[in-house]
């Protein structure tokens, strides 16, 4: 199905207002992406290009750069979530559950939500059997948490034409790849519709640090600018803001403080509900428009 067949255009200004419980005007959800990079593949991203270019394999420096996030960076971030009492959402590669059990355990102990994030960190268009990948990811998450994940984020937000259909058929209730609105929306699938919860490409450390090459403080500046505008926009009808981090990027010692400051600043604002993707979904299911 073409995207336009899944969702009709709708201007946000014309919709009936959505209200969050307890006087909250907006919802915040914070997503930590945990990935496993296969040393036998080209690394998904690089911090250091090899001398004279190309992409030699194995790529130890960039593999190690990512591995640092899971050995050290994640634990630094965890303290921020703990101290500020913010519920985390773990978007995790299926293969990462077996590779990094202490991370899954730490998230489980804290009641974080687990979201499927591809079985491996590669473009969904390059996955041999997409349905199996989606199903296996849910299986391994269920094996660790005792519960099948309700949410899905494609690796690098990638999808094929069929992804939403397959997700729904495999029991997922929401997807976050469609960064096209500040409120949840319904997407049609071959079977019943699936919800998309607003994620973010720009308030995302991959975009800010690795693609746009900003200095670490940009994370704070942009997140607060984003927050203030959405907070303002949300006066009449609730809006959702997502904040995205990767342990190998914002978990680096020179960047962590900007992540902490961002959450400290937002934490102090009244009427901001920190939620998980699942909680945003359930709220939308209970008070939003019915499925088309």
């Amino acid at each position: 199905m073409l995207p336009t067949e899944r969702i009709a255009y709708s201007p946000i200004a014309n919709r009936p207002p959505l209200k969050l419980p307890n006087g909250a005007r907006m919802a915040m959800w914070v997503i930590v992406n945990v990935e496993e990079w296969d040393i036998k593949q080209t690394m998904p991203r690089t911090v250091l290009t090899p001398p004279a270019g190309g992409s030699p394999m194995p790529d130890i420096p960039n593999w190690a750069w990512h591995e640092y996030g899971n050995r050290v960076g994640f634990w630094r971030m965890l303290k921020v979530f703990d101290e500020l009492k913010i519920p985390g959402v773990l978007a995790i590669n299926g293969s990462a559950l077996a590779a990094y059990p202490p991370i899954a355990e730490a998230a489980l102990q804290r009641g974080w939500e687990f979201m499927g994030h591809g079985f491996t960190q590669r473009n969904m268009q390059k996955v041999e059997n997409e349905r199996e990948d989606i199903r296996n990811t849910a299986d391994v998450i269920a094996a660790v948490t005792g519960k099948r994940p309700r949410g899905w984020l494609g690796p690098g937000l990638t999808e094929t034409w069929e992804t939403p259909d397959l997700l729904k058929e495999e029991g997922y209730d929401y997807v976050a790849d469609w960064v096209l609105d500040d409120q949840p929306v319904w997407l049609k699938t071959k079977t019943t519709p699936i919800v998309n919860v607003p994620y973010t490409q720009e308030c995302n450390d991959v975009a800010m640090m690795l693609i746009q090459h900003h200095r670490a403080s940009e994370y704070y500046d942009r997140a607060i600018d984003q927050f203030e505008q959405i907070y303002d926009d949300a006066a009449e009808s609730a809006r959702v803001m997502a904040l995205v981090v990767h342990p190998y990027i914002m978990g680096a010692p020179h960047r962590l403080k900007y992540f902490r400051r961002t959450l400290e600043t937002i934490r102090k604002k009244p009427n901001v509900a920190f939620m998980t993707g699942e909680q945003i979904l359930d709220w939308y299911l209970s008070i939003g428009p019915k499925a088309p």
């Binding site: 036998k40 911090v47 250091l48 290009t49 030699p56 020179h254």
Partner: protein
């Protein structure tokens, strides 16, 4: 030979919070490890990095402008480093292409006289994947440095941190004790090779003037800014477990007149704190191996 080990076979995953704490002597909290990279860029090959892309984007050989850019580092920039570190009384680790000892003996001699540690860094600059005979190249590099300094290097850093899956075996075989290529932790770790253990030291790809200046295109002051942000975080964490802050610099980048002052400011900042020590790679290796239960232990 059986299949080479992949990184996971060499070292089990270990979360930093699950490990026993290391201890530093004499109340030290954080080690600053400074690494100066000296390279040889062969004019017959494509240059390792480019400050100025070729007109129309197609690189042609010889690449005189980019060769000259690097050469400036050896002629001028590195002397700013020697001056700075003499004033600071710091002897950094030299990550040195062995061919520097042959092509730039004046520079290598200065470092030797100043008591800098020589860490192996390939024979010349280029990805190790393209070496026709890696084992021979490693051996040659070690020999050339040993001949020049009278001491076989303890450490090794791949050119651009590159390795193939077989590299750790070749390095262990050549007598290397620690490597800087595995920037995956804040602490040293021990990895397995078929030729005995190797220690990894936390080198840095992020507090490194190549990514910051040449890949990410930040302003000159960003090196100090990012390093200070890192230091502040690590210093706070060092209350609980010792930390290592590595700084990697290249004379053709940080030795430029418009960048050197930020390096000076950075060290002035770091030296204001109690418990800050400046060690070279070998000192870190000696401390680590005398504190962990024997080489061969996994991370």
């Amino acid at each position: 030979m059986t299949d080479p080990m992949i990184p996971r076979d060499r070292c089990d995953f270990s979360a930093i919070v699950d490990r026993p704490r290391l201890k530093l002597p004499n109340g030290a909290r954080i080690i600053i490890w400074t690494i100066v990279n000296l390279e040889v860029w062969d004019i017959a090959k494509p240059m390792a990095r480019q400050v100025i892309p070729a007109p129309t984007g197609i690189p042609l050989l010889p690449d005189v402008p980019n060769w000259s850019w690097h050469e400036y580092g050896m002629r001028v920039g590195v002397w700013r480093f020697f001056d700075l570190f003499r004033k600071l009384d710091i002897a950094p680790t030299l990550s040195i292409n062995a061919r520097v000892c042959e092509d730039y003996p004046r520079v290598a001699q200065q470092a030797k006289d100043a008591g800098w540690e020589f860490m192996g860094h390939a024979y010349e600059q280029g990805p190790i994947h393209k070496e026709p005979d890696q084992r021979a190249m490693i051996d040659r590099s070690m020999k050339v440095i040993e001949k020049f300094t009278g001491k076989r290097p303890t450490g090794w850093l791949g050119p651009g941190l590159t390795q193939t899956l077989e590299t750790p075996e070749y390095l262990a075989e050549a007598g290397v004790k620690y490597i800087g290529d595995w920037v995956y932790d804040d602490e040293p770790t021990t990895i397995r090779t078929a030729k005995g253990p190797l220690v990894t030291l936390p080198y840095t790809v992020e507090l490194n003037d190549i990514p910051m200046m040449m890949v990410q295109h930040h302003g000159s002051d960003h090196f100090a800014k990012r390093a200070i942000d890192s230091f502040d975080q690590l210093y706070q964490e060092s209350e609980r477990r010792p930390k290592i802050l590595s700084l990697a610099i290249h004379p053709y980048i940080s030795g430029q007149p418009f960048r050197i002052k930020y390096l000076r400011e950075l060290y002035d900042y770091l030296n204001k704190f109690d418990g800050v020590v400046h060690w070279n790679g070998e000192q870190i290796y000696d401390w680590y191996t005398s504190n962990v239960p024997g080489p061969g232990a996994t991370s």
